[in-house]
Symmetry: C2
Subunit: 517 residues, 2 copies
């Protein structure tokens, strides 16, 4: 085993000292008003009644706990520490407590594939990336049969609680499951933990989902390296697409960390022509400065925000569903379709997700932009060199070593999930406020998931879901970015965050995301 891996296994996460004394704390219902979501009351009659809770001093119950858990969706660094936090807490409460891991995500629960998790194997993944201890999966708990299977398994295993470690969809699932269990008098409490590198599971209460910090630090390391290389070689324009489904949080965070020449933020809603023109302008102006190189960041979800691409895709989805072809597109959409590079046309026609829709994430946005910029530069009779290099950073950051921030945060979230179950909360999400401050200032609460939900169309039906938090164009981080980006375009103020550090001074090892500061 690598020496660093060995050392990291020994790292003790830094968390509020309250969380280390489970017998001296309790989650108590807050007295303040419920927020919004009253139109969801009829869908969640039981959980709607519940209020949020905060952790305060008190006499905690000491009875042994049996807790089940699963990972849901894509990996995020720190997941193993959530498990470690739960394990340590239930052991501190009673050494007779037991932890059950459902294998490969929600499917493990539905299909009753599980195993006991023991201290020894948990010790082998402390502060380590990945979800490999029990795997993850993307099965959604949707059908009545699936709900009843879950209930039966939780009853059979006599679980006090179930911890769902997942993103917006998975925690929507957690809320529905909690309600279903309450209605059907299953004693298993369901508590969610906010996971996603995308950073789009955020609210007033949820300052950050776990994994975002580590993933962004890994991407920013690579972007900084590439920018330094670009400035040295002076030959290539790097188009770097960054993972993160819809929202552009990762791109914004990495932009603030590295100062690329351009970072596209989907939420600005620019049209394709404007984006291509902006890149072409950048390349022309830099060429005028003798700089035939550059670095451009592209969020994976960009296309979803481009109005005319959205319109094209909506119509294309409808036509293809009816068995028609792109030939039947309305004139405007048809013109756009045929103006796209043939590779992208083919991807629009071929790549469909499980609902038959165009799988936007499969479309190579970075290649699309490169092709369109080439054409645009051609139209402008650009005389310089334009040597684009495409990159996609995603898998590199999903299972990296968790940063100290994520290691600490996740361990605390695990402790809270265990305590929430002990204190009989259900349908709630673990939330910590004041995350940018010292751990002792962290405020631990449980937020009813229903408060984060709204009705949205899914497969043609209105469904209650957790709203994805997009980049707020009025927020401090975005405004900071917007204020500085013009000088980044031409002045090559590239920054080198470098590799994540785990030893040494806190200002190097314990930073929090820029977009959270």
């Amino acid at each position: 085993m690598h020496p660093l891996q060995k050392k990291r296994l020994e790292y003790i996460p830094q968390i509020p000292s309250l969380l280390l004394k489970p017998n001296e704390v309790v989650f108590t219902r807050k007295l303040q008003e419920r927020k919004g979501a009253s139109h969801l009351k009829h869908l969640f009659p039981k959980t709607w009644e519940q209020r949020g809770a905060e952790l305060v001093a008190g006499n905690g119950r000491k009875t042994p706990l049996r807790i089940g858990l699963f990972f849901s969706g894509g990996q995020a660094p720190g997941g193993h520490n959530v498990i470690a936090g739960i394990w340590d807490t239930i052991q501190r409460i009673s050494t007779s407590s037991q932890l059950i891991g459902f294998i490969n995500g929600p499917a493990g629960l539905i299909e009753k594939k599980w195993r006991y998790l023991k201290g020894g194997e948990i010790d082998e993944v402390r502060n380590m990336g990945g979800f490999d201890l029990i795997g993850s999966g993307r099965t959604k708990i949707e059908t009545p049969d699936q709900f009843s299977a879950c209930l039966q398994v939780c009853n059979e295993l006599t679980l006090d609680g179930l911890v769902v470690i997942g993103g917006d969809d998975s925690n929507t699932n957690a809320a529905t499951l909690a309600e279903y269990f309450l209605v059907n008098e299953c004693p298993t409490k369901v508590v969610g933990v906010p996971k996603t590198i995308d950073g789009d599971l955020r609210s007033d209460e949820i300052e950050m989902s776990f994994g975002f910090d580590s993933a962004c630090k890994t991407y920013a390391e690579m972007i900084g390296n590439i920018a330094r290389d670009a400035k040295s070689a002076k030959k290539y324009t790097h188009f770097i697409k960054l993972m993160g489904r819809s929202a552009s949080h990762i791109t914004l965070e990495c932009a603030i960390a590295t100062h690329p020449n351009l970072a596209l933020i989907g939420e600005e809603g620019k049209n394709l022509e404007a984006i291509v023109a902006e890149i072409a302008d950048l390349i022309e102006t830099r060429k005028g400065q003798g700089k035939e190189y550059g670095v451009i960041l592209i969020p994976e979800g960009l296309l979803e925000f481009i109005p005319e691409m959205k319109a094209l895709i909506v119509e294309l989805n409808q036509l293809l569903a009816k068995g028609e072809t792109q030939e039947s597109l309305k004139q405007k959409n048809k013109t756009l379709f045929y103006s796209l590079p043939s590779k992208i046309q083919a991807q629009l026609l071929l790549e469909r997700d499980s609902h038959g829709n165009v799988a936007l994430s499969q479309i190579e946005t970075e290649e699309l932009l490169i092709e369109l910029v080439k054409e645009e530069l051609g139209r402008r009779s650009f005389k310089g060199k334009f040597s684009p290099v495409a990159h996609f950073f995603g898998y590199e950051g999903r299972s990296c070593y968790p940063s100290n921030f994520d290691a600490n945060y996740c361990y605390a979230l695990g402790c809270m999930a265990a305590l929430g179950i002990r204190d009989e909360m259900s349908g709630a999400l673990c939330a910590i406020q004041n995350l940018a401050q010292d751990q002792e200032a962290w405020q631990c609460s449980l937020v009813p998931i229903v408060q984060l939900m709204q009705m949205e169309e899914r497969k043609g039906m209105q469904k209650p879901v957790i709203a994805k938090a997009l980049v707020n164009l009025e927020s401090k981080p975005f405004l900071h970015f917007a204020k500085n980006r013009e000088s980044w375009k031409f002045d090559d103020e590239y920054q080198n965050p470098g590799p994540m550090q785990f030893f040494g001074e806190k200002e190097i090892t314990d930073t929090v995301p820029f977009t959270m500061r």
Copy 2:
């Protein structure tokens, strides 16, 4: 500026204490026999006469020095420290010494584009990646006009010495230039510094080129992350191509660091069918174990070592040079050509380097293998899932933060280059032995470049060049790899080297490459 960047600027490279006292050391000609290369004597009559030199205690000259330098070829982490080492040494010798940086590589020398380098700006790039202080370039010094331009510039600038920081080709150039200067009585001494992340500039004397360690650590960090993700998601087979032109050193080093399921080593010379069969076997067997995922490393230079691809490319080069097409290929090559995916066929016909040859590095070997493996699995009626994801890691590692090893090594090389010039060595390459040991055990010598050279065909003519060091299939590192790779195939022994660390215990911060141990 990022706190880590600030901290790294302050790092003091650890080098043999001898190098810190330039006035108390001298390079002295070794007495041992010249090695080999006697058939090159007529090409290098002057430098051939010179012997290697070693650094010993003595009274060093204290006259001010004027040294010019340039970077040549691709970036390698640590380059800036070579400059810092030279600068600090000539300042220690005399504060009237001056350092001249030629801009954007050898072209800067030929075209007399240069500027003085000063302490302040050098302080801003200490221990930092990239070559951005003065840029780099790939111009070769080949024509009589170019040689005479170089001589004129060095004379005009009254340079005591010229430091060439480059790989095999650039140091071949350094040797030729040194000879030319000696013959033409130009007093400028030419000293080379072994740079290349590829790790193929090695010999008995040159244990390692600089940059290899840092680049491999960066790639290994990413590979480890992806492997952990693969094992967690259980969905994808990652085909990771690694930079490194011909030789497979980077792939071998990263394989030993991360234990992928398969790492192809070009030097084994397997044919295409065998490689595809090996991958298909791997996927089938793992599928049998319930593992529909994996990690495969591919060296950038793989195709050059595949006998039938080599034969195809040689014939294709000849045909295309004569204006003929692939239709005129011999039957065997024609069959192979048409068995390749159409995208690769197009690349073989279209992508040519500056000599009109197929640019192998432009061919997407990872995509080629993916397509061929898909076809092979189809022929085998494979029933499992095969979801390949292609990656190419290159630019991420060329300009990353230098590891402590590279930071130390490069600084020492810079000190040696300056001392070598002071002690009137020319046509020599800086070499340190015992690199895997503590710095005080490092042995500093200057090796006549001509000793590393042999005759090879270039553009149809026999030319003296530095022989590229390929992976030695009898070497300890390769044998270690070969012994273990079967268990890596199926047992998922993935290792997580994690991000490079700069603070903390030496076993974490000061490791040397596995392939050097």
